[in-house]
């Protein structure tokens, strides 16, 4: 296929990606160095209150936003350098907290708090997803052929439902005197409030994420299990390998590419953790990096969106993505080189 035909086929897609992904990235990068705010002017205001004999008048200086001839607030955009990044990172406070070893102070700064949670969340759920996915796949593979279809149907439900709703449904089971909290209280014979401290919420969020993603891993691994060479399994049995050894030396190495694939997808998705925060309404206790950017973008009570701070935090989030992707991308690059 020559270049012109290729361009004609790929053009629309590339155009959309450039316009709606690459261009916003550049503009976010630029925005993070500028700040747009209303122009304020200082005016002398004389307020008079009626009094006996004469009225009392007070003159004070007030700063108020300047309006143009249509009555709209005039805004000005100015270059502020790294100020927005400083606002998000609060480096002095963070550094002082680190040198003093005072972690509780560090976790009062939203960005560091979000970073801490995002990383813990990603790293803890990763092995759980792989482990449970593999376990469920093996179980389905063991089951009789007739029940595999229905079981896969049920397994797909947590994966397919809207993430916010999935998180909400688990939230409703535990919130207040939800049915599972009631069960736990009856079992442990004590009062439990799962939404009163950060760590219980975090555990619930991780549980939700594993519940949501393990089916995906299971289906992928199940497909991989179908292609395991039965002959080598059989010869392993004859050689006296136990079940565990067969799993370890034949099945897992066979599934390795799939395990890497699922881990990659999961790393990318877990790093973007966001829906859990909304579904569990946990913003008072636990926030994630993507939620931080989202929060800056939501208009505050005065209707202002802190675009430049959002851009700065978005750019900082990006750094994480780059670090996450360097290794796999190098591998793809080497494969490509090797392939040609």
């Amino acid at each position: 296929m020559n270049f012109r035909t290729f361009a004609a086929f790929v053009g629309p897609s590339v155009f959309m990606m450039l316009l709606f992904i690459a261009f916003p990235l550049v503009s976010v990068f630029k925005q993070s160095f500028y700040i747009t705010q209303p122009v304020y002017e200082t005016v002398e205001v004389e307020t008079c209150t009626p009094g006996f004999l004469t009225q009392t008048c007070v003159t004070e200086l007030k700063s108020q936003p300047k309006l143009d001839e249509h009555g709209e607030v005039i805004t000005r955009t100015e270059y502020v350098g790294l100020q927005s990044y400083r606002n998000v990172l609060e480096p002095e406070r963070a550094w002082r907290a680190i040198t003093e070893g005072n972690w509780s102070v560090l976790s009062t700064i939203n960005f560091w708090k979000a970073l801490r949670f995002t990383l813990t969340f990603t790293l803890i759920t990763l092995p759980l997803v792989i482990g449970f996915g593999l376990g469920i796949a093996v179980l389905i593979n063991n089951a009789a052929g007739s029940i595999r279809g229905p079981v896969i149907f049920i397994s797909l439900l947590p994966f397919i439902i809207t993430p916010v709703i999935g998180a909400l449904s688990i939230n409703w089971l535990f919130r207040g005197d939800g049915i599972l909290t009631a069960l736990l209280e009856w079992w442990l014979n004590r009062d439990i409030a799962l939404f009163a401290q950060a760590w219980t919420i975090e555990i619930l969020m991780m549980f939700y994420r594993v519940w949501h993603v393990a089916p995906f891993a299971a289906v992928v691994f199940y497909a991989g299990l179908q292609t395991v060479n039965q002959d080598s399994l059989e010869s392993a049995v004859i050689d006296g390998a136990t079940r565990w050894q067969r799993m370890k030396y034949i099945v897992i190495p066979h599934l390795m590419p799939l395990i890497i694939f699922v881990s990659m997808i999961h790393l990318m998705d877990a790093y973007r953790v966001f829906e859990e925060i909304v579904g569990f309404s946990s913003q008072a206790y636990v926030i994630s990096l993507q939620w931080l950017t989202f929060d800056f973008l939501v208009p505050d009570q005065a209707g202002n969106r802190s675009i430049s701070r959002a851009s700065a935090s978005a750019m900082l989030t990006m750094i994480g993505i780059v670090l996450l992707l360097i290794l796999p991308l190098r591998r793809t690059w080497r494969d490509h080189k090797g392939g040609h």
Binding site: P12, M16, L139, S155
Partner: protein, 384 residues
Amino acid sequence: MSSRALRQPLSLRLTSNIFLAFWCLVAAFPIVWIAIMSVKSPVDAYDSNALNVIFGPATLATGNGLSVLDIILGIAVIWGAAMIVTKVLPAKIKEYTSPGQEWFGWVVGVLVALIAFLLVFFVVLPAVLNILNPLFGPLGRDVLGVTTEHYKTVWVDRGFSNNFKNSLIVTAGVVTVSLTVGTLAGYGLARSGSTLAFWILLIALIFRALPHSVLVAGYLPVFINSAEWLAPILGENAPTLYGKPFAVIAVLVAINQPFTIWMLRSFFQNIPAELDEAARVDGCNHFQAFRRVIMPVMWPGVITTGLFSFLLAYNDFLVTSLLLDAQNQTMVPAIAGMFNRETTTTDQVVAVAAAVSIIAPLFFLVMIFQRQIVSGLTAGAVKG
């Protein structure tokens, strides 16, 4: 298990099946439970005794309930409907449509079946049961508290039907556009081994990893001020892109593009290249080969990719909640508003009913397209 050597002992099979049953319970429980909660009165829905939630005595006390007879007949009607749709309908459609236009027959057939089912289930059946229930004594007495009032509140009073319509517009738009653009690109990438194609795929992979909030931070200021900077091109009636469904469709299509082209590419690679080479030898150019030879055989891949595009658009919270205004809001952000209100338990059960309304279509989607979803999940993985 084909071979004797690999046969497992009974105890192992038993344990394995018990664990599998446990997993199914864990997977289905939250979803089933909120479905049950949504048809109970608030007192029952938040009862700490599970049996009270299931049987709903408080709901029953308000006069909303189902008798044993209701349940039996209801299940019979659902089962009958399922039988008709799976057995009779395909045959009828084959009979009445000419080949090549089956899809039209399917659309009409499914619509007719749906309307007929709703009529029978919600109009005819209650009328018949009203007459039958008193005649059957204990069988006709209400035993299970069930109420549909929360669904009425959600769909009628809270204007959820408007959100539903918006969701429909956004998802339909996203699926159509992203498949059109994506199929072309996927085909081009699958048939070209050039370095450029590799780079496009690699960059698409990076784009796939981007958090959506990063992109939205880029769109927001541009969209809000779009009337200003579009004015030189479009003149007076330049639109403000913020809050417009078509702007969100474009954004979601772009966000979805990396995934779509990777997936469609892997499907196209499974279609042998000899097929279009043969067409080219017969005198087609690339576009004709694509149109006449590839398009007829590409549908399984396209349907699968379409399903995933649908899921992305339908499930999205972040982009739609930030870029759409209240009046064009889709269902998922709308429910977050409902949940955060959280004033009374009634409000909460209403939110539960809204949540169930949102996931009900997904349930049917998995039921119908299970095979395509599984093949889609594994398609990307085969390449490793």
